[in-house]
Subunit: 711 residues, 2 copies
């Protein structure tokens, strides 16, 4: 069966480039093909062109092949070239060497093919020559609307469409299902497919993007967001080139379909460079932060990725900062481990309401533990009613149930399904037992869409990802509420170098509080300023040619009287500089907790905001959090909550309870500064002194990049 | 078949208590029974006594039942009481209420039964009355040598012996294998059994200890260490009563059999009390530290526990501080994730030797990545030789191989087995693929004992636990080398309260350096001391009735001349105390990095040593490490390496590079102080000032417990 698109040439623009609609339609054709051509078909079983035909043997649509001489291979009709195909196919698989692919792609485009999949390597990943070939392919795609998967990938499968566009034998065993796999690596794509199969799950579309010359992660996310067969997306990323655009795509996609991601590069954690806030967080941290801000759930392993996607494909919680759950367990020991994991992850296991407890109490023998978790002991006839009662508790968003398989006393579908159906709340089942029991339980629960996972650890994981998904969606929804300073000055050009005084003026103009100060060009001016300001003051050298003020003795603290002022000015005057008498006299800040607040510009993710606790130890333990700008109050609260030393903010050891709203406002302002001034490569407030009533930038640094002042 | 033991009465002591040999033999009889009696047998399928007979239907030995009236149930001959049994059975299963168990146990002991297993609850876990029943059971065991499993447990299985001593249906599906499961909770025992089955593994003995009134973790570890069917032990702990003894057992067992453990209570991490070093680490941290010191590998989840035990049952590395590994992967993407996880865990992936690289280079096409990891691209015919070459590299202790199943190009047994056989080094396989392929690969690899795991995450885990096992065994072997101060004074009785000066004297007597100081009872004495000491000095109030010296202004730093000394003495004299002129004059310490070093006495684990970085932030981020005393240099190095802020010790940000040997010696001394003085409940050096050439105790606190001075 052929599609409705006779030509891939862009009909909706007149610019010589294919239109977006055509590109989008062709992407859909490629991944849901009803006709496929194998270019480079072969009778030699060792050749990719033979393997492609073998894996496509069960394809229910039209299958043709391109071969210079043959008229038929394995029962598949052959044509000498793509131009000779009787109809334009949705997908052409190019099982030919790299150097032949450009010509083939051009022919495919001319014949109205939807997309081509190139398995070969030998392109951008190998050097300049390969990169040229790859660019030629990209040009053909851009101009004609032809889509390209790869090159350098093991391909994709769409089991429901009977399309096994991969040369790896065994991939045809991947079952159809409702989880999409989207991997940067073909090997990870296959791994995830098999891991999902191991969980009893199948895939809708599972694609390895390879070099992603044309079809990239964003294209796929947009496609999958609209795909009726996909309920959740499992995403694997190694590196991200156009992060900001990916973030924006995620913001659109994740409210519709849950996205779970693994990001390679954990080993870089701890690999912190030592000189700048900009290097406090490795780029993987920025990637993870941006994915979370885009509403995705990020996990550490492929095992967790597969399991999380399987759960979220069936159930999501409504957006909420923290979801409340209850655990009902038939066995105390596993229940303790689940509770442990949930609490370690910060999940709220609140006290159940009095009516709930009373109802459950009537269903359980004395001496069972009825709080949260609820330990029923070995499940009895009242188990379904206990689940139901817990689900009906107004304080509870989701119910987790664990029970080792005992079919004679616990029928999972009967125990869990009514509670979900009556309340609409997710009710999840964790179990273990003989294989036969598990298969039956999974079959029974599938009808109601109840997630079932194996073992205590995975039930805890299920709860944790439900909560994370709901929180990230809540954060995403809040972001529209990020406070904007009405009088934000916009992108007035800055010229460098920018000294502390100018940097603080910039901060102040964005609403960040700074100490009262006066910039003095002479000793007399300094003395007048001293008279005017509240004592004690700090005297700082303000020469633009002095970078390391403190190290050179250019900062004198706690100056209380005229004699001390004179001594300070004398000391500073001895520092070799072109402007020895230029000083900043500044009121001493009250005591508080010192943070570092910075802004950096990531080549992929754009402006980012970084917050950490101040001091050498905080740097040594790398205790900081990053987010891509703009950030709202909720984002900053989330960042602060992720700090290991967050207790420092809450009145620890006699320290003041910090004004978190003031921190959030300052962080949001840093985001706006970065947004408004593309010429700034980095800003840093170190320290940001915080106490009960505000946050004060005691020192400020603004670094202009090479593109300083260029919008 | 009956055993050789006609009576359980202790024949090898004359004290009225059963001898250890009898107890040990009876434990062996109970867990490897050749004859079983079910007490409380029943025809009612809802009763435990019926379920017990059902699960034992396949038992190959002698099966009898006790029932007051019946002569036969389900074909099993019944006797009215245990006394009436024709022969003393190895195991009696008491499927009767709690209150009837004591009488039954007494009868069992009299009839020469090896051990009884009590499933019922209603004992110690329910209150004083139950505790009395439980104590009666314990008394019977102690006096007669009868062993008891439980009460309050789901029992145990020994599939190879055909013994399913559990009432949970389905447990009979657990396959025989070479991994022992030892769980505090019956539910966790079953969970682990099923998880192992899911990995294609079986169990030797899988036991849930329940209340562990008689048979406890130590007994089981000793039994399993000798068990010819057990190659690794999977251990689950919730709480440990006699930790010190468990540690000593582990020290004996783990060099013979690998032990992997999960400890419940992670949620307590971060639940740090705020006032003492003693509370810096929750008790779970002490448990984990002690298990590691005993040579066990501790993991976080049951999934990891099952997988780690399955790997270590087949391969161990020789004791070594860090093992070096190489990864050979057929797919780059999964290889990157494995490398990531290994490096994050600190595994050494060294450069391969030149000869190795040359040999491998000849086997691979150009442009494959031949460093460490080695990315072969799709496996080719040279794959086995690559594995072989890597295994032969002298720098490599273990080889990890990952390849998605492609039976036509990669035969796992052929690729991996020769490399192991030629070198004796562990060669591990990680894979994924269609179920049939995996089953065949697992079967093929089983013959050579090659561990096979599913997916990238688990291959990384396998490498990580091999390394941890080898490191913990190395640490255990080093512990004999803990430096002992020859002139250690032993347990001279201490009387309290102990002031700073006395505390420092104690430290000094154990070889811990303290600043030069003089305790002065008058202003004149203080002035003489000042003249004698190097300047600057610190002047500290030394009144025993002043606890918070610094907060009260009782510590004056940086005193450089006579006027400053007078001012300091004046200031201290104003503090209300019975001894206003008693001061400690002490030389100021050079700059350095401040640590906290402490000793605490854990009720279960005994004396422990705690090390953390100094300062409020370090406390807020809970960056400290604990070990049970005694500790050697290697232990302390391990502790310091576990600090998140360990970079602070290595010349971070201009700080001195710390003398780790001096820290280790001080920590070892703290351990000896705790050992020698049982009256001390807590010691704390805060700060321990460390620089390039030593560690100096600037302040010291010794707290005597209620048992102060009592040996």
């Amino acid at each position: 069966m052929m599609t409705q698109y006779g030509s891939t040439a862009g009909g909706d623009t007149g610019t010589g480039s294919a239109g977006e609609r055509t590109r989008r339609e062709n992407l859909d054709r490629m991944f849901n093909p009803r006709s496929i051509a194998v270019v480079g078909a072969s009778r030699d079983p060792a050749k990719a062109g033979s393997q492609a035909l073998a894996t496509l043997a069960g394809f229910p649509g039209t299958l043709v092949a391109v071969h210079p001489r043959e008229t038929e291979i394995r029962g598949v009709p052959c044509y000498p070239g793509l131009a000779d195909l009787p109809e334009p196919v949705d997908l052409a698989i190019l099982a030919i060497p790299a150097r032949a692919c450009v010509q083939a792609a051009a022919e495919a485009a001319a014949r109205g093919v939807g997309g081509v999949f190139i398995v070969s390597g030998g392109f951008g990943e190998t050097g300049p020559e390969g990169a040229r070939l790859e660019q030629d392919l990209v040009d053909i795609c851009r101009h004609t609307g032809l889509r390209l998967l790869g090159p350098n990938t093991s391909g994709f499968v769409n089991p429901a469409a009977g399309c096994i566009a991969s040369f790896v034998p065994g991939v045809d065993t991947l079952a159809p299902g409702r989880i999409a796999v989207l991997a940067q690596s073909g090997g990870v794509n296959l791994s995830l497919g098999y891991l999902l199969n191991g969980l009893g799950e199948g895939v809708s579309i599972a694609a390895g993007l390879g070099n992603a010359a044309d079809t990239d992660t964003r294209d796929m996310l947009e496609l999958l967001a609209e795909d009726d067969n996909t309920d959740a997306i499992a995403l694997h990323l190694e590196g991200v080139n156009d992060g900001r655009a990916l973030y924006e795509t995620l913001c659109r996609v994740t409210p519709r379909k849950p996205v779970v991601a693994v990001v390679a590069g954990r080993a870089d954690i701890g690999d912190f460079a030592v000189s700048h806030t900009g290097n406090l967080m490795g780029s993987r941290d920025r990637t993870v932060a941006a994915l979370v801000q885009g509403g995705a759930v990020v996990v550490d392993t492929l095992d967790d990725l597969a399991q999380a996607a399987a759960v979220l494909a069936r159930r999501r919680l409504p957006p909420k900062p923290r979801s409340a759950m209850t655990l009902i367990t038939g066995q105390a020991g596993p229940g303790l481990l689940i509770t442990d994991a949930l609490k370690t992850a910060g999940i709220d296991l609140p006290e159940l309401g009095g009516a709930t407890l009373e109802r459950i109490g009537g269903l359980l023998p004395p001496m069972t533990y009825i709080r949260n978790p609820i330990d029923t002991g070995r499940p009895g006839p009242g188990f379904p009613d206990i689940v139901h009662a817990a689900a009906q508790d107004a304080a509870i968003d989701a119910v987790l149930v664990f029970g080792i398989s005992e079919p004679s006393v616990l029928d999972p579908a009967q125990a869990l399904t009514p509670a979900h159906e009556a309340t609409g709340k997710p009710v999840l089942f964790g179990t273990l037992g003989p294989d036969g029991d598990l298969e039956k339980a999974r079959r029974d629960l599938r009808a109601s869409g109840t997630p079932m996972v194996l073992g205590p650890d995975r039930l805890a994981l299920a709860g944790i990802v439900l909560d994370a998904d709901a929180r990230h969606q809540w954060l995403l929804a809040q972001r529209g509420d990020a406070p904007e300073t009405p009088d934000a000055p916009g992108g007035a050009a800055l010229t460098g170098p920018i000294d502390e005084s100018a940097a603080k003026a910039l901060m102040r103009s964005y609403g960040i509080a700074v100490p009262r100060s006066m910039l003095c060009e002479s000793r007399a001016a300094a003395q007048r300023a001293f008279a005017d300001l509240d004592k004690p003051v700090v005297v700082k050298i303000a020469a633009a040619d002095v970078a390391h003020k403190t190290e050179l003795g250019g900062v004198v603290l706690d100056v209380r009287d005229a004699a001390q002022l004179d001594a300070a000015l004398d000391r500073i005057a001895r520092i070799p500089t072109a402007a020895p008498n230029r000083v900043l006299i500044e009121e001493m800040a009250p005591a508080g907790v010192d943070l570092i607040l910075g802004g950096v510009r990531d080549p992929s993710w754009g402006p980012c905001v970084v917050i950490g606790l101040g001091g050498v130890l905080a740097e040594a333990v790398a205790d900081s959090a990053v987010a891509i700008a703009p950030v709202g109050r909720a984002d900053v609260a989330h960042m602060l909550d992720s700090l290991r030393g967050k207790r420092m903010l809450d009145g620890f050891r006699g320290l003041p309870r910090c004004d978190r709203a003031a921190i959030a406002d300052a962080a949001a302002a840093i985001g706006r500064i970065m947004r408004d001034h593309p010429g700034i490569s980095e800003v840093e407030i170190n320290p940001l002194r915080v106490n009960e009533v505000g946050a004060l930038a005691l020192d400020a640094l603004v670094v202009l990049g090479d593109d300083a002042g260029v919008q």
